[in-house]
Every structure is written in structure tokens, then in C-alpha cells.
Subunit: 334 residues, 2 copies
């Protein structure tokens, strides 16, 4: 079973993907995917391409498809939450709404090297990863059933990663996720009230204030947000207004790679290799968010075991002021 279901009260969609585990009784078994025996048994390492589904995209120095020689490689998740092969069907059942599990769930292997964090790769290699995100978003936009592509990275078990070889993921969905919708609507409301992008206002404010800036380059700004959910939560924003990640200027991707490497590297040194997530926030295609929304990346280190009740309450308690975190990160030597 693979379907989308909507909570009848708050309208939150979830993905039910019940063939990812077979039965409830399997649930107390350890996840077989969690086994990490190093490069020899890693399905993401070069030479083991047959252990993954066939590649959708690969940047190569040489070699044939689905063999070694790649620098960045994209393929469908072996246990996909959603699949493009489904037919889009919507149905109701009393109060409830559901949709077939149409979509895509892909893995982006960031480099051939097994145990390198993204921050340890060279800038051109990180740029290839960022260009792979862009290329996949552009390709998935052609599927008219889909409305959004969510790009994210889970690094480390505490952040939800089951394999240690550095990788990102994307999930393309036939609906715009609720968290994205909320952000889009809030940005639109700000624009209607002020004729300005709320993120541009934030960038202006932070650059004048200075206390929450981690790094600044010609094209990007890395800040600790004013109201961070997690200690050392860090956002990277392009300084020039642009709603969609995939339509950034060609030069932006190298500049983004550079500030991303430096920011992740500092967080890594500050917190001693924390597990972390990041999520790319970008406008859906074909919307009217050109003026009001502003793409950015939100990085969330996960040092403490998930502070449980926040899941249910939406209330985050953060013991570290962003001003202190930013000062600390600014002081770290590269």
C-alpha cells in the first residue's frame, strides 16, 4: 500500500507506505537498512551500482551508465515512499480524503567517497550535487501530476539517515506540503501588506543588525534565524530576490556550494560532527510567488535526542540564543 491521506481536522497529509515494512510484527526488528559495514557492503559506493535501482542521472568522468566513473549519481529510492508508476486517483470516504501514492522518491549520492560529509567535499563537487538537485527539479516539473519537489538531507542516524555514505533525497508530491503552503501564504500576506518580500526584509534587517550573521558572501548570507527551533539552526539565503531555486543564475550554484561548505564545516567543528538535516525551501513551479517568496536552505543540527513533545505541540524550546550561536560560529577558524 502506498497512498496519501489527509487528516480531517488540520488538513495535514501523510504518506502511508506500508510495504516499506511488511507487518506490524516486523516493527520491533532492527531496520536491515541500518547496517553499515563500511564501503565493502555499501550499496552507494562505486562498483556496487547493481545494488541500487538503475540511475536516473549521473555526472561522470567516464565509464558507462550504472557502472563506476560517476561523481554524483541519482536513482530511485529502493524503498520509495511514492512512485511515478502509480495512476493519480483521488477518493473520499466519509470525512476522509486519500490519493494514490503518485510521486517520486529519489536518492542523490553526493560523491563516490564513502565517509565524507558534504562539508568535506571540494566546492566543485558540492556544486555538482546542487546542480543535480536543480536538474531533477526541472525534470520532475514536466510531470503534470506533480506539484512540489522537496529536497532534503538526513546526515547521521539521529537525523534519520539509514546509510552512512553521504546522500541527499528528494520527494516529489502531487500536493504542496502543508509546511510549504503555510510559508507561501505568510509570505504572500507580507507582500500584500508591504509590497516587499519578507525574506528580503529579513536579510536587510540582519545585515544592519549583524549579531546573527554567520557568514556573508557576494551572493549569499548565512544567519542564525531570530526564532530558531534548534540550537545552531542556520539558514542560507541568496541575497538577491528569487522565488525558485531551480531558476537561480548559473553563477549562484558555485557561490551557494562555497558558503554551504563553509557553514556546514563550521557547524561540524562547533558541535563535534553533529547529525543534521537540511531542507531546501523553494517555491512551487507555476505559482504566483515570484515577488513574495524567496528560496533558502534551512540547516537543523540534531545534537540532543529529539525533544519529543515538540512533535505534538509544535512548541520548540531552544537552550541556545541565536546571537550566541552566531558569535561562536563566526569565531571558528576554517
Amino acid at each position: 500500500m502506498r497512498e496519501l491521506r489527509k487528516d480531517p481536522v488540520v488538513g495535514r497529509w501523510i504518506i502511508l507506505s506500508s510495504d516499506r515494512r511488511l507487518r506490524p510484527s516486523d516493527f520491533s526488528e532492527p531496520d536491515p537498512e541500518a547496517a553499515n559495514g563500511g564501503p565493502d557492503s555499501c550499496p552507494f559506493c562505486p562498483g556496487h551500482e547493481a545494488h541500487t535501482p538503475p540511475e536516473i542521472l549521473a555526472y561522470r568522468d567516464g565509464g558507462a551508465p550504472n557502472g563506476p566513473g560517476w561523481t554524483t549519481r541519482v536513482f530511485p529510492n529502493k524503498f520509495p515512499a511514492l512512485r511515478v508508476e502509480e495512476t493519480l486517483e483521488r477518493s473520499g470516504e466519509g470525512l476522509y480524503d486519500r490519493m494514490t501514492g503518485v510521486g517520486a522518491h529519489e536518492v542523490i549520492v553526493e560523491s563516490p567517497e564513502h565517509d565524507r560529509d558534504l562539508s568535506e567535499l571540494e566546492v566543485p563537487q558540492i556544486e555538482r550535487v546542487l546542480l543535480a538537485y536543480r536538474e531533477r527539479i526541472l525534470d520532475l516539473q514536466r510531470d503534470t501530476r506533480l506539484q512540489y519537489v522537496l529536497v532534503f538531507k538526513n546526515a547521521g542516524r539521529r537525523a534519520g539517515a539509514s546509510l552512512e555514505h553521504g546522500h541527499s533525497q528528494l520527494i516529489a508530491t502531487p500536493i504542496v506540503p502543508r509546511v510549504v503552503t503555510e510559508e507561501l501564504e505568510a509570505s504572500r500576506a507580507h507582500f500584500r501588506a508591504k509590497e516587499r518580500c519578507v525574506f528580503c526584509d529579513m536579510i536587510d534587517h540582519e545585515r544592519r543588525d549583524g549579531r546573527r550573521i554567520v557568514l556573508e558572501s557576494d551572493r549569499f548570507l548565512a544567519i542564525e534565524p531570530f526564532a530558531p527551533r534548534y540550537p545552531f539552526e542556520t539558514w542560507i539565503l541568496p541575497r538577491r530576490h528569487r522565488a525558485g531555486y531551480e531558476t537561480a543564475e548559473p553563477e549562484d550554484y558555485a557561490a551557494f556550494a562555497s558558503i554551504l561548505k563553509e557553514t556546514l564545516g563550521r557547524i561540524r567543528r562547533a558541535l563535534d560532527r553533529p547529525h543534521y538535516n537540511y531542507v531546501l525551501h523553494t517555491a512551487p513551479w507555476g505559482g504566483d510567488e515570484g515577488d513574495s517568496y524567496h528560496w533558502h536552505l534551512e540547516i537543523m543540527p540534531k545534537r540532543t535526542p529529539a525533544a519529543g513533545f515538540e512533535w505534538g505541540s509544535g512548541f520548540h524550546i531552544n537552550p541556545t540564543a541565536p546571537e550566541e550561536a552566531a558569535e561562536y560560529l563566526r569565531g571558528i577558524r576554517s
Copy 2:
């Protein structure tokens, strides 16, 4: 520093409570509170009352305040996220809004016994815990600066608990948390459209359908919700409409204790003592939600390491269908 801050885009409030840890550099140290050396070193065990702040409420078989003899004991959190002693002040700074950290953060120790899960206590003892929630909500309502009391339980480290002795917590806030507001507004919209409570509609639907029912008693229903975020997520709802937990009928608390014990016990056996959270969802006092909202408890087992990206995306992937989970839980012998 202890203050509430609002994200300028989506309006999410967070609590900054930065004296809970001293400096960013302390952050990579293990949490000293996480040490669990058994009853001898447990500040929540009888005889160790001097290791906690003075009690606010205790149900006692005997003994003097702040000494042994209690069956359920409530005191302020030693490292409170919010404190009643602050003065409520609101201030702006450009785009940003903040508020002083007025509120309350209390611990409810569920029994004198160190290593009993709530499901292992006798029904009358669980009822005392539930009555303590009620009594604290009623008392905090008298503080006119406060708008909401969020009662929750973190059981086990993976669910955010730092001490193993069974306890619940409450946080009283000068604002209504966003997740609560969303639920209230959605319920009100349903009521306006249909003149019916959405939770009453859900209860009717589930009782007719049957597939997602875990347990049913005269006064309560335990179900797997149609769109669960987590495997074995379980909700307990009173069958009769009532917006506020603290105004339930006197007989409800014993009946709630009984179904809560049985439900938690079955989840415990099904998933082999999972870590879990629960959050009490109840209407704020003095609102107009009497007809449209319906209090309930949401239980969220945390078997897998937090599926990271869901934090950032709001998109939950659940590998276990609620119909299968309910069938499995129904089949477990008490």
C-alpha cells in the same frame, strides 16, 4: 535569558531558555540530567524531595509537605523553560516580535515507584495523575497573563525524557501554541460549515467502520487515526462531546485512567516497551470553542530514530497502516 520569540514568516513562536545550558561550548557535553543511576540518585524518588523545587501540589497518604508519603507530586521544573515570576512584556524589533518568558513549567511525578511505566500503575493511581493535570490547569487559569496549558509526557530518552522515573510535564504559556490554534480554527470551520463537531463526526465514522478501533468503553474510544504520523499513533477521545479536559464529568477521569492504562499497555507489549510521547489536546479557557472543539489525547510511539526531514517539511512518512496497527493492538491479550 528566557523569552518567547516569533518567526516573522510563519508566525511560529519558540521558547528561548538559554540558561538551561550556559554557553554554546557546553553544548557538546553530555546532558548531566541524563544520568540515571537508579532510585538512589533519582531526585523524583521518595526521600529525595529536597532535590527538587518545593511542591505545588501533592496527593498524600500521609507525611508532611516536601517529605515522603505522597502518591503523586507536582513541582516546578528545576530548569524551567518559562517562569511565573517574570513580568509580561512584549516588544518589537523591526520585523521581529518577542515576549518575556512568563509562564509555568511543571513536573508531575506519577507515582513514588521509580521504574514503573504509567501503564503499569493501578487505575486509581493513574486517575490521581489525571486529576493532578486537571487541578493544575484550573489553578493556572487564574493567572490572567496565561492563555494555555499544554500537558505532555516524554517517556524514554528517544522521546526526549532525561530522567527515567515516570513523570509528565506541563507548560503554561502567555500565547496559544500555533498547533493548537490551527486545530481550533479547523474545528471551528467544520462547525460553521456543518453545525457539527469534527471529532464527533470522526467518532461516529470510526464506530461504524470499526477497522481503526483499538478499544471502546462506555465513555471513551481509542483509535488509530485515519492519517497517522507515526506507526501505532493512537488517539483516545471521550465519546460525549466536551471541549475542555478540565471540565469533564467527575466519573470521566476514572474511565479515562482505565482506557489509558489498557491502551498504553497494549502498545507497550506490541512494540516491546517503546519510548513514546503523549500530548493532551484541550480547548483554551474562555474561548468560544464549546461546540466546535473536543478534547483528546494523542499518543505517539517513537520506535525509529526521529525521521529527520519531517521536522522541516511537515511531511510524515508512515510505514504502518492504521488499520493493521489497530487489528494488531486489538489482538493483544491483557
